[in-house]
Amino acid sequence: MEFGPHFLLATLEGALTAAVLALTAVGLSVVFGIMRVVNVAHGEFFMLGAVIAWFVSTTVGIHPAVGFLLALVVAPVMVGFLAIVADQLVLRRLDYDPERTIVATIGLLYCIQQVTLMTFGPDARPVIPPFNQRIALPWFELGEQGFQVTWPWGFGVTTYKLAVIMFAVIILVGLWRFLARSKFGLIMRATQLDREMALAFGIPIERVYAIVFGLGAGLAALGAVLIVPIRQAHYLMGGEPLLLSFIVVIIGGLGSIPGTIMAAILIGLSDGIISVFFSPTLAKIIATLLVAFVLVYRPQGLFGRRLP
């Protein structure tokens, strides 16, 4: 493929990664930023979202779109609820100690994975997208005969991929407004700034934490439902979103939601675009080192302020 269309295609693919990553990472970011908890099981909540989506959409056998739409609501709610239970049973009892929560969430990760393996099985399972048309894309060239429209081989996108990007944007904008305008958003920010002070003002910290943990997990699940018609549900699928979200949250600056979203776009796009220029594994190495070096020279992240 010519450089131009190739670049654009990689950018489109990058945008898709970025959209889903933004949702998942914002989920991790609120948990990280507000509760100071490194939730290693975040990727498993993502995975559960995908698995539940598969279950709902195959059980409700009316029309793929109906099942999918239902999953879009059911999966995040169920996963969020499960996360709240985990918070109440485990994290709260650890007093949200940073080190111990890491270990405890590793334990949760094992439990969730194994239960999924035993119930859902080890196979990758597809979910039918509600709609999916391939749109071949044109390319414009200034050739000998002047301005020309060509249809490069393989240059296209599907309607569903575009819809995922748009839907993610809508959700993120909505979430942003919710956190900026609502009383709960205010409470969350107050808790994030100063836990002791929030307690002194009578904010029920533990309830806030439970909701935040549920919200974070729900967002991961939502991201998974959106991606599962493109990439199938599998019990080990949680590793990559965890790693990427983790990176995005740090690069974006701890607890900064706009920063997280910017970083998701940056990481998603660069992951796609670097692959245009280098051989795939080398591209991965370069992208990984890039993240490392950004943090070495800007430990507070690209969009964050230096921590005191």
């Binding site: 493929m1 269309p5 190739h6 295609l9 990689a10 693919e13 990058g14 898709l16 990664t17 793929p64 994975q113 194994q114 393996l117 099985g121 080890p122 196979d123 990758a124 597809p126 039918i128 997208p129 999916n132 391939r134 071949a136 081989w153 393989g154 240059f155 296209g156 599907t158 493109i230 990439r231 199938q232 599998h234 019990y235 080990l236 699928m237 590793g239 990559e240 796609g272 692959s275 245009v276 051989s279 795939p280 594994t281 591209a283 991965k284």
Partner: protein, 433 residues
């Protein structure tokens, strides 16, 4: 022989009887070999303890589940026929997490804790390579069902064998003539960027070039990748055949995105079924695969008049004519590989019988195996005739090329065993025990 089979026929169902007639076919293959004395000459009540390394968790879990089912079916059959050398098989199955470290630990456990007579069943190459040194040191016969080129390349040891599944080097080089003559002369390869993929890259390119074809581009996909579309633009426009192989949980995504990329106007596709093992060929998004070609170790869909013992084998394992579980049509098996477990268990029965009476049973098993040459198609070996090379500890067998045709895979070509040959790279018989 006759006496044995009549003994078996008394008091067993007709189905079992049919199977044991098949067993006779298998036995016949060995009857010419000296030392073969039969199957039901029990000497001890002690069970034959067989360590089974299973990928129950980790990336190999989809394979592991079916390896386990196939193994259980084979064990049931062998035990109903009197076991191994009169001893019932006791399977000691342990999860290796598809991890070489745990794999090695499990092999140790088989040898030193459970006092197993042999270990078998491993699929993923890194687990094999991580575990084999321990098996060799502990002098435990280790029979793998991995299709890796590790055994025949000579890096392992005298106690490690791959007796019933052809290795990847043979598989891919046997594909080259058919691809060249029927699909196209200009090939682009897509494969995972790790050892298994590199074997495909190296051995196919070599064989294809020998045949006179050209490899246009080799695209290695990083491991654990979940999105593939961005790599496809690297496929050159004049590609006639796209050769693809992928493993791991994202295989379905890979194939789907490949279809979406070309939107029905791409080159001919030739793939290794590894990309779609345990995946229903009729999954949503795979429609475009219609008309594309696959390598299969053993055809997933039952073929008319091809493999004489296929139906009976399916029946024993619990797989329907479409290669899915008889109890759940959505539960697709890893049919192209799992026959290796069935055949390996029968192979073990045979070599043990022939090693019978030796004071050092484990060493004698290896020696017996090394003297095996022809393996005849039978219910014990339903995948087809094979030729075992005692020096390289590797078997060579027929390979199948199938074509997707209206939602099923129809066989279009069977390679000869000779197509899979390559010069020996090791002579394990020269190594000390």
């Amino acid at each position: 022989m006759k006496k044995d089979s009549t003994k078996l026929l008394s008091g067993v169902s007709r189905r079992l009887a049919l199977k044991s007639i098949g067993a006779l076919g298998g036995a016949a293959a060995f009857s010419s070999i000296p030392g073969f004395t039969g199957m039901v000459h029990g000497q001890t009540d002690e069970p034959f303890r067989l360590g089974f390394q299973v990928h129950r968790t980790g990336i190999g879990a989809a394979y592991g589940r079916w390896y386990e089912r196939t193994t259980n079916a084979a064990v049931a059959r062998i035990n109903s026929q009197g076991g191994i050398d009169g001893r019932p098989i006791e399977i000691i199955a342990e999860d290796d997490g598809t991890d070489p470290k745990r794999g090695a630990e499990v092999v140790e456990k088989f040898a030193t804790q459970h006092n197993c007579d042999a270990a078998f069943g491993t699929l993923f190459s890194h687990v094999v390579i991580g575990s084999a040194p321990r098996a060799g040191e502990l002098k435990l016969p280790y029979l793998v069902v991995s299709e890796g080129h590790h055994v025949a390349s000579g890096i392992l040891n005298r106690y490690t064998l791959q007796p019933c599944i052809t290795d990847v080097k043979s598989q891919v080089q046997a594909m080259a003539p058919y691809v060249h003559d029927n699909l196209g002369k200009k090939v682009t390869m897509i494969y995972p960027d790790f050892a298994f993929g590199h074997d495909h890259r190296d051995y196919f390119s070599e064989a294809f070039a020998r045949r006179g074809g050209t490899i246009l581009e080799q695209i290695a996909i990083p491991p654990a990748e979940t999105a593939f579309t961005r790599y496809f633009p690297k496929i050159p426009r004049d590609t006639e055949v796209l050769y693809h192989v992928m493993v791991g949980p994202a295989v379905l995504t890979f194939v789907k995105e490949l279809g979406e990329f070309f939107g029905g106007s791409g080159p001919a596709l030739f793939g290794f079924i590894d990309s779609l093992e345990a995946v229903d060929i009729n999954s949503p998004g795979l429609e475009f695969l219609d008309g594309s070609y696959f390598w299969e170790g053993m055809p997933r869909y039952q073929q008319q008049g091809m493999l004489a013992y296929d139906a009976e084998y399916r029946d024993a394992v619990g797989v329907d004519a479409n290669g899915a579980s008889v109890s759940d049509a959505r539960d697709v098996s890893t049919y192209a590989h799992m026959f290796g477990c069935w055949e390996t268990l029968h192979f073990i029965r045979d070599i043990v019988s022939r090693a019978q009476g030796s004071s050092n049973m484990k060493q004698a098993m290896i020696e017996a195996a090394e003297s095996v040459t022809d393996i005849t198609e039978s219910i014990e070996h339903p995948q087809g005739n094979k030729l075992f090379n005692g020096k390289t500890h590797q078997v060579f067998g027929h390979q199948y090329i199938t074509r997707v045709n209206g939602g099923r895979l129809d066989a279009v070509h069977t390679t000869s065993i000779e197509d899979t040959f390559y010069p020996d790279e090791v002579d394990y018989t020269q190594q000390e025990f």
